[in-house]
């Protein structure tokens, strides 16, 4: 029975003794005698620093023994148990790998099969495509190649229109849009969905070419949206010059003043408010994309996501409506102050009725919110005027309408933030599994290369590197298969939602389900979103994997060479 090491005097010695005491408790049984030998030496080391250094060395040996024990089975020939008397007779070359080659090939083939399924490919693509973050989802030119090819080959106006809406190149967008409209004038609406800024943004702030506005007016003259687009051009030009002047001055107030003083602009807005219909064409672009993708059997959810989340027509047409409504309400207030109540009521009714009509005909939450806000401010002015002029019944109706108006679709609150990380864990799982596919494939290839190189070098000593390489070759294919299966299962709900939207035969106006589903691969669990947006991006995944595996492979392959070189130099 071994005695416990005596408790030495100094703090350093006590810490060293405690460290080795703890290490002894978890030391692998087969080599525990060496742990005890190390601990026993502490009793004769009277220097604190040396005692601590001695204990740290002991901990390093403990880690080494753990690794040796866990990797031990891979260092033995197949079917040979530990301590077998047959071990010395077995050739070292036969010791790896343990998995039969046909099984390894079968597992790899099954993994490849799963990874070739479109859902798996989409999941991998969503994770590793550069710049694949939500708000700066630039469309790569290559992504559109199939649409471009079918557009050119078949002179298909709808395919041409899809390229015009999504191309990263401004010149191509403009020329393709003109070509699509030339081929099929019923596609004139696409002018409102073709970003005219150099780089397509969520809200491009560049005016539309004047001829496009004219063509839209000729094509759809009764549409309030088209009429507002003309009024919007002036606002966009003001905004453009404000940006070019380095954002100096109070742009909003100056723009409001200039627009309100422009009779032509007011006349345009007046005609927009009187227009019988409002259609911002929003649902048409997904329908168009869907038709083209079906026709040519192209499946690309990422492009669909970019298309439905981008609002190329810009929010400023509703800003124009707001400015014009405010001008009318200010006039109403002036009229009421001078006792002209009927005129004031008439002035308040115009924005209230127009915003109600447009709010009922629009399709996006963004537009609904903008029109509801205009209606609310108009009704808030109108209601007391009606009460004052004895129209109590209508005033009561307006009070009810005011209380029912929804003006907070997307309030800035934790609930909204939560909504955007609703699928955070699913997104995290997809990305992690996709990264796992990459890592396991690389580990398998690196392991195979190491075994091949070591075999050719005729290495006689199966060291730790050999065991690690063997583990990668042995377990890599099975883990890869499980990982690929997991990726397929994790991405399946996204794919199902995309298919539902894609196969739905009726027009679709609400894309929230589609956006939430397709956005899943880009989501992060709440709390890590900020970290992820800065560091956990595909580029860093790639770099970490490449650098880590390169270092490991270089170490394993060249360790022997470096060692021989050093010895030769010595």
């Amino acid at each position: 029975m071994m005695k416990k090491p005596a408790e030495p005097g100094t703090l350093g010695q006590r810490i060293a003794a405690r460290l080795l005491g703890c290490a002894l408790r978890i030391w692998p049984e087969q080599t525990s005698i060496w742990g005890r030998a190390l601990a026993a030496e502490l009793a004769v080391i009277d220097n604190s620093r040396q005692a601590l250094s001695w204990a740290m060395g002991g901990l390093m040996i403990l880690i080494r023994e753990w690794l040796r024990q866990s990797l031990g089975p891979w260092r033995r020939p197949v079917g040979l148990s530990e301590g077998s008397p047959l071990a010395p007779l077995a050739s070292p070359a036969s010791s790896m790998p343990r998995t039969p080659r046909f099984l390894t090939a079968l597992l790899l083939a099954a993994s490849l099969g799963i990874l070739l399924i479109p859902d798996s490919r989409e999941a991998m693509r969503a994770t590793f495509q550069p710049g694949a973050r939500f708000w700066n989802m630039a469309v790569n030119s290559g992504d559109l190649q199939r649409f471009r090819q079918v557009a050119e080959r078949n002179h298909d106006p709808e395919a041409t229109a899809v390229v015009a809406m999504l191309s990263p190149d401004r010149a191509e967008r403009i020329s393709m849009a003109d070509e699509a409209v030339r081929l099929d004038p019923s596609l004139t609406w696409i002018y409102t969905d073709v970003p005219t800024a150099e780089e397509p943004r969520v809200l491009p702030a560049q005016p539309m070419p004047p001829e496009w506005v004219a063509r839209l007016e000729n094509w759809d003259p009764d549409n309030a949206f088209v009429r507002m687009l003309r009024a919007q051009q002036k606002l966009l030009r003001l905004e453009d010059s404000w940006q070019k002047n380095g954002y100096r001055g109070d742009y909003i107030e100056e723009a409001k003043k200039e627009l309100r003083e422009d009779p032509a602009w007011s006349a345009t807005m007046e005609s927009a408010f009187e227009a019988p219909k409002y259609d911002s064409y929003f649902p048409r672009k997904f329908d168009l994309y869907r038709r083209v993708a079906r026709r040519y059997q192209i499946r690309d959810p990422r492009l669909a996501l970019i298309l439905v989340t981008r609002l190329p027509f810009s929010s400023s047409h509703t800003e124009c409506a707001e400015i014009y409504s405010q001008a009318l309400l200010d006039q109403a207030e002036a009229a009421a102050e001078s006792g002209r109540y009927l005129e004031a009521i008439e002035l308040c009714r115009r924005p209230a009725e127009a915003s109600q009509r447009m709010g009922e005909q629009c399709h996006t939450d963004f537009e609904k919110l903008a029109w509801a806000q205009i209606e609310r401010s108009s009704l808030a002015r109108l209601e007391p005027l009606l009460a004052k002029t004895g129209q109590a019944r209508e005033a009561g109706f307006l009070r009810y309408r005011l209380s029912a108006l929804q003006t907070d679709f997307y309030p800035s609150s934790p609930i909204r933030d939560w909504a955007w990380s609703e699928n955070g864990w699913e997104g995290f799982a997809i990305r992690t599994l996709a990264f796992g596919v990459l890592l396991l494939s690389a580990a398998f290839l690196a392991g195979s290369a190491v075994l091949l190189v070591r075999d050719r070098q005729g290495a006689e000593h199966p060291g730790l590197g050999f065991a690690l390489a063997s583990a990668a070759v042995d377990y890599g294919p099975l883990l890869l298969l499980l990982d690929a299966l997991g990726l397929l299962i994790a991405y399946r709900p996204v794919s199902i939602m995309y298919d539902r939207y894609f196969d739905w035969s009726l027009p679709i106006y609400d894309f929230r389900g589609l956006v939430h589903a397709l956005y899943t691969p880009y989501e992060w669990p709440e709390g890590v979103a900020r970290l992820s947006s800065q560091y956990l991006v595909a580029y860093n995944y790639w770099m970490a994997a490449i650098i880590g595996l390169s270092i490991l492979a270089a170490y394993i392959v060249f360790r022997g060479t470096v060692g021989r070189g050093r010895r030769a130099k010595a």
Partner: protein
Amino acid sequence: MGLRLRFSRQTLHVLNALLERPAQWRHGYSLSQQTELPSGTLYPILMRLERRGWLETRWEETGDLGRPPRHLYRLSGPGRTWAAQELRAARARQIWKPVYTE
């Protein structure tokens, strides 16, 4: 052909230290001081030598030392022959020379 040990310079230092007085049992700490090798390097070498049968080990006689018994090491018979050959070969190839003197 059996498995061979990898001859690092550290291994050669340890072999040299053990060969100086081959019949004498040595402690780990004294070997560490003589070879200037830290415990994390020295012990894996000793463990490998012992696994190959070239190192004999035993525990110190338990007396009333007031401390736990220490582990003792010396080269086995075949180990001495092998170590002497390897050190000669290393010196001949000029890949190793002793860095310490006692």
